[in-house]
């Protein structure tokens, strides 16, 4: 089962300020631990929303909206994708995630399971969706 651990953004991450060295070291140690347990699939930090953009749909028509976006707490600053055998294992790994902005700053991570193949019925629309997905490469 795949789980995505998402770090919620805050003013600091939105400012583009790099984390302090001690925090970087804690993050590196945590991810090394994940890798050594064969659990880590992928991990990345996201640049501030000021460098991103959104596409908003109104009546099916897309409109481009440039960042930054105000609702900081709803934004994601980074993610770690893990492969765990169960939800309980994912909880245990998530519990060990270092406080993402250091111990002095209250913060939040959110963990969500990814859909697995079996969650979808095998039908034509799903297959077509998967086809589209592959064009990412």
């Amino acid at each position: 089962m795949r789980f995505m651990i998402m770090v919620r953004a805050n003013a600091q991450s939105e400012s583009g300020q790099m984390p302090e060295e001690a925090l970087m070291a804690a993050m590196a140690a945590y991810h090394e631990q994940l890798a050594r347990a064969g659990v880590l699939l992928d991990a990345n930090g996201l640049r501030p929303s000021a460098q991103g953009f959104r596409v908003r749909y109104h009546g099916g028509t897309p409109t481009l909206v440039d960042g930054p976006f105000a609702e900081t707490k709803e934004l994601i600053a980074g993610y770690t994708l893990i492969e765990a055998r169960s939800r309980e294992e994912a909880v245990e790994w998530a519990r060990r995630f270092p406080a993402p902005f250091g111990d002095a700053v209250d913060s939040e991570i959110e963990v969500r399971p990814l859909y697995e193949l079996d969650d979808f019925a095998h039908n034509e629309p799903v297959r077509r969706f998967k086809d589209l997905e592959a064009t990412r490469r």
């Binding site: 890798a35 064969g38 169960s86």
Partner: protein, 430 residues
């Protein structure tokens, strides 16, 4: 306070995550993986007693490790026979200190965090010791490294539970009686021992990837475990090219899982698979591991090993956006290298397929024909299946149909059989 049920679930999860490290850490002290497992279990029992009331500690792994090591220490102090035995087999300084230095466990943990990886590696090499039969190695590895229960291993391997239990008990006894040292082999011992480890991981993966019996085409849990082990190994032994080669091979093969069966669960051949359903994250990881293996081989002046070569072949498929774009000449060359590294009729058969794709069915058939009558392939369904396919491409329909029927009769599971029978039926139609 969390209720008891959730605490028990949390303990089970912590246990799964930590179990191998704890067994490994304790095994370094007592030099017996059977005893180490027993002592680790004692620590689990202690957790089940304490945590529901006191809550799960902030660092549950360290709690379990310390508790298990204290149990080991008690055992060493109490059991003079064990201590003497350890001395006889050349116990290292640290374990001897265990008998005299009172608070050595704490000192040890602080000083030896980095050794956990080494302990795990020792555990891997011991569980995969060539002294044990491949079946026993698989069972022991799944138990000690994967943290699977005997029941889970039995279900995954389609073997009755008592058989697995007995297999594990006997394996541990064999290791103890032979006084197999709990260590990472060095020097010229390393290469053959590493081969044994990689073989076990590959066996576990294949057991899951192609169920050889019953009507289950796959047992995904085994593939997941093997993949996890391969990923762990590439962290523990990062300088070994073939470790990355194996990891690459498994990542790339696993990337096709979703496309390997259709809606009814029937197998889909590689050429017919919907490549959009391949897992691109696993492909990316596989290609990264492959390039690591290739770089290490180049730096160390070694030819590519068999797992790396197989991964390179899988990568040729993974890189092709559609079946027609496959670099078959490249694959044929890689099979050539593989046939030189590990000559075998099965590799030769695969080479024949690649040659046929690159240079035409007649060229492939010429190779396949040299394999007919090969004793090792007597019951191998893919020999007649491949021959049937090439004959059918050459327009020799009747011969093709006979070959597909022969292949169907040799098929090891129902779904393969059905696939081959369908090919036979199609071969007769003009």
């Amino acid at each position: 306070m969390p209720n008891e049920r959730t605490t028990h679930e949390a303990i089970a999860a912590v246990w799964r995550i930590e179990q191998a490290r704890i067994v490994a850490g304790v095994a370094r002290m007592v030099r017996d993986i059977g005893l180490a497992e027993e002592l680790a279990q004692d620590a689990l029992v202690a957790a089940l007693e304490h945590w529901p009331g006191e809550g799960v500690p902030a660092n549950p792994g360290a709690w379990l490790m310390t508790t298990a090591k204290h149990r080991a220490l008690d055992r060493l102090r109490r059991d003079k026979n064990l201590a003497t035995k350890l001395e006889q087999i050349g116990l290292d300084l640290e374990a001897r200190e265990a008998l005299v230095v009172p608070d050595f466990v704490d000192a040890l943990d602080a000083a030896r965090q980095d050794d956990i990886g080494d302990d795990l590696l020792r555990l891997v090499f011991t569980a995969c010791h060539p002294l044990l039969s491949p079946d026993a190695r698989v069972a022991l590895t799944l138990k000690l490294l994967g943290g699977l229960t005997t029941a889970e291993i039995a279900r995954a391997c389609l073997v009755p539970e008592p058989t697995i239990a007995q297999r594990i008990v006997r394996a541990k006894r064999t290791l103890a009686e032979a006084r197999v040292p709990f260590e990472v082999p060095r020097g010229e011992d390393l290469a053959p021992r590493l081969t044994s480890v990689l073989e076990v991981v590959y066996l576990i993966f294949n057991e899951g990837y192609t169920a050889t019996a019953g009507d289950d085409w796959m047992r995904p849990a085994l593939c997941d475990e093997a993949l996890r082990l391969a990923r762990i190994l590439s962290e523990l032994a990062p300088e070994e090219a073939e470790v990355h080669g194996l990891a690459a091979l498994l990542e790339l093969q696993a990337s096709r899982t979703a496309a390997r069966t259709d809606e009814q669960g029937r197998p889909v051949l590689l050429a017919d698979q919907n490549r959009a359903r391949w897992d691109h994250l696993l492909i990316r990881r596989g290609l990264a591991a492959l390039s690591r293996a290739e770089q290490l081989s180049a730096t160390q002046g070694q030819p590519l090993g068999p797992y790396t070569l197989q991964a390179a072949i899988a990568a040729c498929h993974a890189r092709a956006p559609k079946a027609e774009a496959t670099d078959w000449a490249g694959i044929a060359a890689l099979y050539d290298a593989l046939a030189q590294a590990t000559p075998s009729p099965v590799v030769e058969l695969n080479r024949a397929v690649a040659v046929a794709m690159a240079f035409g069915p007649a060229a492939g058939l010429a190779i396949v024909d040299t394999l007919v009558g090969e004793p090792a392939l007597k019951n191998y369904q893919w020999l007649p299946a491949v021959r049937g396919d090439l004959l059918s491409k050459l327009g020799r329909a009747d011969e093709a149909r006979d070959e597909f029927l022969r292949a169907a009769a040799l098929a090891k599971n129902e779904r393969e059989k059905a696939l081959l029978e369908a090919r036979a039926a199609a071969a007769g139609v003009h």
